[in-house]
Amino acid sequence: MRKVLLPSLIILATSLLVMRIFYLQVVDDTLKLKSENNAIKKKYEYPERGYIYDRKGKLLVANQASYDIMVIPREVKKIDTLEFCQLLNITKEAFIKNIKKATIYSPRLPSVFLSQLNKSEFAAFQEKIRKYEGFYVQKRSLRDYEVAFGANVFGFITQVNEKLVDKNPYYNSGDLIGRQGVEESYEDLLRGIKGVKYIQKDKYNREIGSYKNGKYDTIAVQGEDINLTIDAELQKYGEELMINKRGGIVAIEPSTGEILALVTAPSYDPGILVGRQRSKNYTELYRDSIAKPLYDRGLLAEYPPGSPFKILTGLVALQEGVIDENTTVSCNHGFSYARGRFMRCHCRGGALQLHRGIYESCNSYFATAYMKTINKYAKPAQAVDVWSNHIRSFGLGQFMGYDLPTGKRGKIPDSKTYKRIYPNGGWRSTTIISNSIGQGEVVMTPIQLANMMATVANQGYYYTPHIIKRIEGHTIDKKFTTKHVTTIDKKYFKPIISGLFDVYNMGTASALKVEGIDICGKTGTAENFAKIGGQRVQLKDHSIFVAFAPKDNPKIAIAIMVENGGFGSTIAGPIASLMIEKYLRQKITRLDLEKRILATSLQSQYAKLGGLSEAVKLQLRISDSLLKKKTMIPTAKVKIDSTKEKKQAI
């Protein structure tokens, strides 16, 4: 017994140690993770983002150097705070606040003291930076917008949110990411791939060299440059025409589906989301829930399309064989489609054929055609599905699949829709007759309207609208070069196009003719209501216009929607014709018309909806993009003329 005690103790103790070590090294893996956080630091090298060009190769979005002032609170010595604050143009309170924030994060790790200074802001500070111990400068690359328009097309760059950091391992907290527009949809290409360097740290968090001689390090891959289908001149002109209005313009090249212009109003100068004021500016944009400058009306605003929808009603009726070019309908300033039901009409009346029905936009004619279509089939449910299929073949009532991050489906009703609305049945062609003239259950976005016109221009097919033209070293997505053919035979488009052409010659847009360009178009007007002070009030109609030109060999299809703009021919129509002229001729001949449209302001209409007053908006520098350019204080961009400096040096 006495001989056994010490050996037993040794064996017991040894087993205990082995078990404990086994637990630490093999069972418990949290320690491994802790060790990595502890000793290895990943240092990222951020590549420059790809440039964005327009369809003609004009540079729209580049990059600029920006400077973050970094601080290591523990190393900050006594400094001349007053001078420091003056140099950086900040208040003493802001200085104290920022230092405090950095200290709370960590007294010995660097944190951002002041971010995104531009060259000139930084230049003054640079000379004196040595005086301020504990502060240093970190260079970063930020967007440099060469143009003051197209904010909705480009989107913006912002810090990635924590939710995405958890979901997508590529991003780390604090990384930048594209939001909205092409910055979002082509994020993966534009951003490139960041490089990683593994650095061995010591217990003081100092870097003591690369980990394993850089065995695991990767090199940053530069972002790709992209060309957009946007025509910069047309985009700019569209935004100018929309000053003091709300709405959207979408222009598409019918033969390719390329988006030539995508305008939303109000918008903002993309440059205001770069630099020191960016978060303040963004908050203001975000908070304006009535004018919604961040809301892309061209893609997102759903409206009943009104009269332009008659084009489709006519095409479906022709395809179904219930009317032909010579089918005559008599209109007596309206149409009594059922007992006690009357649809008013603004046409000149009398006996109409399809051609005049279109250019005079006769409600009676298309209501009749629609009723005939629905009544062709034994059951209205079956008929509506047939009709719905035809309409859907134009890409309506569904997401179009374009390469921008936001969109709306729109609405094209089918039998299921009516089963939901009328669960007990009993609905007939007369119940749903409003669909014929683009009211009722039909809802479309401006880009869908534009695509509809492109399809008509092509006489029966379309390419999915898209905004990407070329990516260096890549081919664009195949779905953008795939033809979508509608269910309507080509021959039925001819009479419709002819009618649309005479809209300009004899019809609702006869005052808007452009000498030498054959435009086919259609006016539209959509009623709308708003609740103001708890009361439902009818507001001035939305002004809608769709068009394509030239009639033969179409180059541009366009849809214009101006909120509360009144008749289609008063605002939307002129804008469409000016845009077409601008695109096809690069020059405007009707300067009086241009001047009138530029001067038109609907702000008094919008004021009824409440929201920020113009004075306030001007002060906050969120107004229409180009107007603001004149009033805003330059924040981000001050270009230094380097040649000048060099000359002086010599």
Partner: protein, 411 residues
């Protein structure tokens, strides 16, 4: 017949294990020293090279010398310890070094071998019977004397090592209740810290009552049971009192962290936490020699001395740790085996002391590093950086190897 060579009859198994431990120790010191500016691995290499003449001297001395001069060696050792109070150099609050130029020497590392010799010498006297209470106290006095000189330095780690001599005395006939009392004391101490004192007393009372009524009627002694209860209660409360009032805050912290009562990763718990992270990150096979990120980053404090085992854990993994532990256990069991086959009581007791001292160092050090023992400064024999330690352990071990080699001559 006189020995022709110092290597005659020596136990090669022990020597090979010793050499392996020293070499492995140096490799780990080399790895851990890369993070610091100090060239500790070069100094340690010099210390290691110098052990060769040292071993030669130890083995050359006549086997009888150690027994003959044990008392004198012990006396000198005590004097060097006492001399620290006058001439000692204070490093990190501990006054346990003599400084000769830039060179420092720690006498407590040599005192262990001296005490072992003295104890062996005392017990080898055939007159000694440890059943005799007076003898018991005299033997304990030999152990306590150096402890009294070491404790105030303060060096509680080195002092703690001396508790193992109780086991040696037990092997030589000390009544078993000493040992059991020792174990029960330790058990009650820990229990009191984990639980509230009143619960410990209740548990103690329950155990006493059960034992009392389970034992045969004739053995029941209500007086003894009552005394036992009073003793336990007194001990428990005094532990509570001592812990709260006598211990310094940093002592309390060390215990509290060990017992999981306090969680503190950056402050006082930093050492243990970092050492657990370093070992834990090693996994099955470790990160490889010189590849330990924690080691390179210098996160573990005192890594080349008391925390040298973290380098083993991180760079060599579970397999490497197991190998080192196996080497130690192998050496310890080998020494006990050798001790038991000694012909003289002197060399047997001495061998037992060697095994005990090495065991305490080995266990307390690694247990501390892996977080199952409070933070206490005890080096890992042959592994930890330091000349005094290395030489102290080398002398300790090789005196025994010499005795073992000499046993043939006893006849």
């Amino acid at each position: 017949m006189k020995n022709q060579s110092v290597t005659n009859n020596i136990d090669w198994i022990s020597i090979i294990i010793y050499a392996l431990l020293v070499i492995l120790g140096w490799l780990n010191i080399y790895s851990s020293s890369l993070s610091s500016m100090e060239d500790t691995y070069e100094k340690q290499l010099i210390f290691i090279v110098l052990t060769i003449p040292l071993i030669f001297v130890v083995l050359s001395v006549d086997g009888k010398f150690y027994e003959k001069y044990a008392s004198i060696i012990f006396g000198i050792s005590l004097l060097t310890l006492a001399g620290l109070f006058l001439f000692g150099k204070t490093i990190a609050g501990q006054r346990c070094w003599y400084a000769i130029g830039s060179f420092t020497i720690q006498p407590s590392e040599f005192a262990k071998a001296a005490t072992a010799l003295a104890l062996a010498k005392y017990l080898s006297d055939t007159q000694i019977n440890l059943k005799d209470v007076a003898r018991q106290w005299q033997a304990l006095a030999i152990i306590i004397l150096p402890v009294l000189l070491i404790l105030p330095q303060p060096d509680p780690g080195s002092a703690l090592i001396y508790s193992i001599f109780i086991i040696v005395l037990y092997r030589e006939g000390l009544p078993s209740w000493y040992v059991w009392t020792g174990f029960v004391t330790i058990f009650l101490f820990v229990l009191t810290l984990v639980l509230e004192p009143q619960y410990v007393i209740l548990i103690g009372l329950a155990v006493i009552i059960i034992v009392h009524f389970k034992s045969r009627l004739a053995d029941r002694n209500i007086v003894l049971s009552s005394i036992l209860f009073v003793l336990i209660s007194g001990f428990v409360f005094s532990v509570d009192y001592v812990f709260d009032n006598v211990f310094k805050q940093h002592h309390r912290d060390r215990f509290n962290i060990l017992l999981g009562k306090t969680v503190d990763m950056k402050g006082i718990g930093y050492n243990t936490n970092q050492s657990e992270i370093a070992i834990g990150s090693g996994g099955w096979f470790g990160k490889g020699f010189l590849e330990g990120t924690q080691t390179k980053g210098g996160f573990v404090p005192e890594q080349h001395t008391d925390y040298i085992f973290t380098t083993v854990g991180e760079e060599w993994g579970f397999v490497g740790s197991l190998a080192v532990i196996a080497l130690f256990a192998g050496l310890l069991l080998r020494i006990i085996y050798l001790a038991e086959r000694q012909k003289t009581k002197f060399s047997r007791v001495y061998g037992y002391c060697v095994a005990g001292i090495l065991f305490m160092h080995f266990f307390v050090n690694i247990a501390m590093v892996v977080g199952i023992f409070p933070t206490i400064g005890v080096p890992l024999p042959f592994f930890s950086y330091g000349g005094s330690g290395l030489w102290g352990f080398t002398i300790l071990l090789f005196i025994f190897i010499k005795m073992d080699a000499n046993k043939v001559n006893e006849w």
